[in-house]
Subunit: 318 residues, 2 copies
């Protein structure tokens, strides 16, 4: 058996895999688009395929790996390897034994975890969170996910801690994709932002967001489409990103007031694209609401697109 | 030396002391009104006096105690015993070496901690929080304070975690006594509720709150005054308590979404008086915003008025 481990980041858009050595160096990687039709079994097949390719890139067979970790959306049960209610994936409203299925295909032990939590652990062990004893990972993408490290260890609560996107920032406020009102994600999540852009467009506000989406043949308003629109001075796009930053600053400040952590790590698709550019605005919003004189350190995630897969591989030794 | 320990709960209205045995049984207790004039030294003198009396009640000298713990408001530094910025206490805007001062007067080691955190620890070890691995204490009184137990241990963050009252529930909302906007405490804290009642009264809304306050010779709208007004069907009082319950439910739900704890313990002056009566309304508000299918258990603090002093005594062995 080799000393290599595999990691799979199962996203709504793509499946990213990586094979890493004991020091956290990426020795092989491969990706696949996430199937948009079919069943959970089709998604599992695409995951296996990509992981086998990543292992080959590292000069190994998947069966030789010490194990494979999976960062999964939905309700991922670490103990049973069952993933339920992954609504961004095809046919995955129910439960599917993802761990068991992958173990058969890959010939090695498979560990299932929450996608955002493992990305946070990756930043803590190998990325921007190195050296801190406590941190909150804020992953700004389609939704807004959170991961917690407290006292040097992951904090999972009863199993599902870190739902920072569903902290309420405005009682009675905007409808969230989760169905509740006033969540941070209702203002800052890419999906909610797209719905609000659509409403404003339908109400006659001028915006090129949807023209750009068609022109670049995207199925949705991706972070790159938002970026282009803002660069063009699109008013609706600019207003909605600024509104998102306000929401992120407010919700993150609430989390800081409760936990008083040493650091905040900002990641996710939108976080990686816009976090750096809007960092001053974000800090200004946070300072409006943080109760303490000394702010925690606020840093951008440093492992980029591979952070999720690398973090997933850490599940093998957790 | 005896096996008894002392605890002092330093409140804005009263100083409550207790002397307890190793099993947590209260062997002596005494209280004093908190001085409303003078300096921190005067407050420390009243604290010593009350603790000496509690020790006598337990058949001991203060110098024989294993140590004395203090649950303090303001910024209480556990390492140095210095308390700063305790704005509800006379002349205490700066820093005062409370631990050192009390050690000289009492002849035993003194440990300083945060008042709400030690009350949470008391409930965890001896009260309503027994048997849970993780809980959030929500102390609803003049302000709204929080204490955290995670993985069976206090979570203090960088030293000041638990500021649940300053989690934002309404961005751009009501002004909080802390100076910020939209905090849970801006709607639920007794002080903020009194200010809002005053505004409504001045605006011509009919309420007997201030008449009751004068009649019963209270310096402020105490929880008993709120209770009387509500029993009389006072509309302003009822609306403001219901508004407080909404805020508490929303903010507590946000904390649950972040930490996914096993239990919530509701305490504090208003919590002990109104928590039980409004528990259904509180749970309804929480359920509107809790992201998980299974709610944590929500229980009332069971140690009552003595919880703070008993919790403070636990600092001796922490």
């Amino acid at each position: 058996m080799s000393d290599l481990r595999g990691g799979i980041d199962l996203g709504g858009t793509k499946i990213q895999t990586a094979v890493i050595d004991p020091d956290g160096n990426v020795k092989g990687e491969a990706r696949r688009p996430t199937p948009t039709k079919g069943t959970p079994a089709d998604v599992a097949a695409a995951m296996s395929e990509a992981l086998v390719e990543a292992a080959q890139g590292a000069g190994a067979e998947s069966g030789d790996l010490q194990g494979v970790g999976v960062g999964s959306p939905g309700d991922a049960d670490e103990k049973t390897g069952v993933v339920s209610d992954a609504r961004n994936l095809p046919g995955w409203e129910g439960s599917f034994p993802l761990g068991e299925t992958l173990e058969k295909e890959l010939g090695t032990k498979v560990h299932i975890g929450n996608d955002v939590q493992v990305a946070t652990e990756a930043e803590f062990h190998l990325g921007a969170g190195k050296g801190f004893d406590s941190l909150i990972g804020v992953f700004w993408g389609t939704g807004v996910g959170g991961g917690l490290i407290l006292g040097g260890k992951p904090w999972l609560g009863r199993g599902a801690a870190g739902e920072i996107g569903h902290m309420v920032i405005k009682r009675g406020g905007a409808k969230c994709p989760c169905g509740r009102r006033g969540c941070m994600e209702a203002y800052a999540g890419r999906k909610a932002m797209e719905e609000e852009a659509k409403r404003r467009h339908d109400d006659g506000h001028k915006t090129d967001l949807f023209k750009l989406m068609e022109k670049h043949e995207k199925p949705r308003l991706t972070s790159s489409i938002w970026g282009r629109a803002i660069d063009n001075g699109d008013k609706v796009a600019t207003e909605l990103i600024e509104r998102a930053i306000e929401a992120l600053g407010t919700g993150t400040a609430s989390a800081i007031n409760l936990l008083d952590p040493e650091a905040i790590i900002i990641g996710g698709g939108l976080g990686l694209r816009f976090g750096e550019h809007y960092i001053d605005a974000l800090l200004t919003e946070m300072r409006k609401h943080v109760f303490f004189e000394t702010m925690p350190e606020v840093k951008m995630a440093s492992l980029g697109d591979l952070g999720g897969a690398v973090g997933a591989s850490l599940l093998v030794s957790r």
